[in-house]
Amino acid sequence: MSYPFRSLRDWLSFLKEKGDLAENREKITVGGDAFALSRRTATIDGPALLHSNIDGYPGWRVYTDGLGARRRQLWALNIETSKPSEFIAQKIAESKPVKPEAVDSGPVKEIRLLGDDVDLTKLPVMFTGEYQTTPHLTAGISYVQDPNTGWTNAGIRRFQVMGKNLLTDLVLPYQQEGVIFSRWKEKKKSMPIAIVIGADPVVYVACNMPAPEQFDEMDYWGIFTGERLKVIKCETNDIMVPATAEIILEGEVDLEKRMFEGPFPEMPGYYSGFRMCPAVRINAMTMRQDAIYQDMPMGKPPSEGHSLAALLFEVELYRQLKALIPAVVDVGIVSTQSLTTAISISKQAKLSTPGLDKRVGIAAKSIRAGAMIKNIIIVDDDIDVHNIHEILWAFSVRFQPAKDITILEDMPGIFLDPSEPWVGHGGKYSGHTSVGLYMCTEKPAPYDEGFKRGVALPRKDILERIGENWAKYGLR
């Protein structure tokens, strides 16, 4: 299988060749089995999963966790580097948007169900948690268009199944989908929407990129792959969707009708509350004859959703921070989207610039990509920000609680974080939090005596020699 992967099928063949796809033929239920299996593979950094025996859904297959491991994320993007943030940021900086190519036919049109034939209960939509009322689509990519400019915004959203042809969409006013919704509202027309379920992995990466307004996320597909994404027009609206996708739901987001949505197992690892969300009427369903349903459960980390978000937050935080402060070396998401993030800075630059570590922390919270951040751990560039043991070591020996922590009060947060004391106002506002900056760096004089004695490690040349001859010593 050669790059790029032009469909989910290509990607699954590749994963099979790599031995990184578990094909499960044991019967699973939609009531939580897929979620439990998904959690298991996420916890052990295990393979992607393809289930082919779904109780009550004959003929269906369900796929999860394709982008749950960093190694698979790098394969999907054809990247071989230990610093993907730097590589991707550079690629985006050097490239122009690559517009998709419209085609007249594609496998996603093999089955067309219109009007009364639409029935969402025939899809094997998985329950994630025990306390959901009805299940949510968790890997549905929402495609909506700005009625004034034609700009198409794409992003993974959750949709709750409310009837045979009814979903809810958690439209948030401060997200781009919400901005577009407000423009349809000005025109007094319901917002057309297409929901893509199951596509090649780069579609899922591209749609999660935090693109600026009026930038079509699908243009990233071409930037990453070097080819144009093939797209096809929906049956009932003008939205263009990937022609090789598995399932497309076409509908309209109602301007007035609201239904209560939730509870949903949210990314902080707790259930959301109820919210009154716009209803989405589904007018058409197109799909492959043997469609594969894609699921991406969230809930308590780790999960595929958290892993994918981590990669994209790392890229954007690095890209935006590096432009402001060149001494930033790398960014690593420690936990839960970007709520806890580690940033490494040049040790040399820090020693010649007093307060650099604090400045980096404040900058991280100030940029768009840092809106969600709550705990910022600043480390020296000899610490690998993708290695929790190294971060905790720096926290243990380069940090003094009395002088190396700064609290910023009354900052924007994320209303889903259950520790926010303002929880309960949910949804209208982005959130309200305090932020901690933890300066876990070697300090300059007069606090440097202990650091000047040197880090206790084997000699560098010996470490390298041993590393190159690992197997000879009976080690793997």
């Binding site: 009531g31 859904y57 004959p58 003929g59 034939d117 209960t121 009805t134 919210r275």
Partner: protein, 85 residues
Amino acid sequence: MMIHFKSSTPVQENLLKRIKSRNWLESNLKEIQEKYAEKWIAIVGEKVIADGNNPDEVKQKISGKFLAAEMILIRIPTGAISQPV
């Protein structure tokens, strides 16, 4: 094996039942909040079949009488439900 769209399986029927229960909960939310605010309740069909201070207490009250697939188990919040847009 081909995907079927015509007839519903028992699992799909259970989902339809849950949708009906959810709709009933939404239609009667005000009354249910007045009676069960801050409580956990179990709903089957269009009826609250048990309540308690935590989900385990509710499960214990109804142990074995209903299938999890056809039952909604939920905590009822107080106050108005927020509406982001």
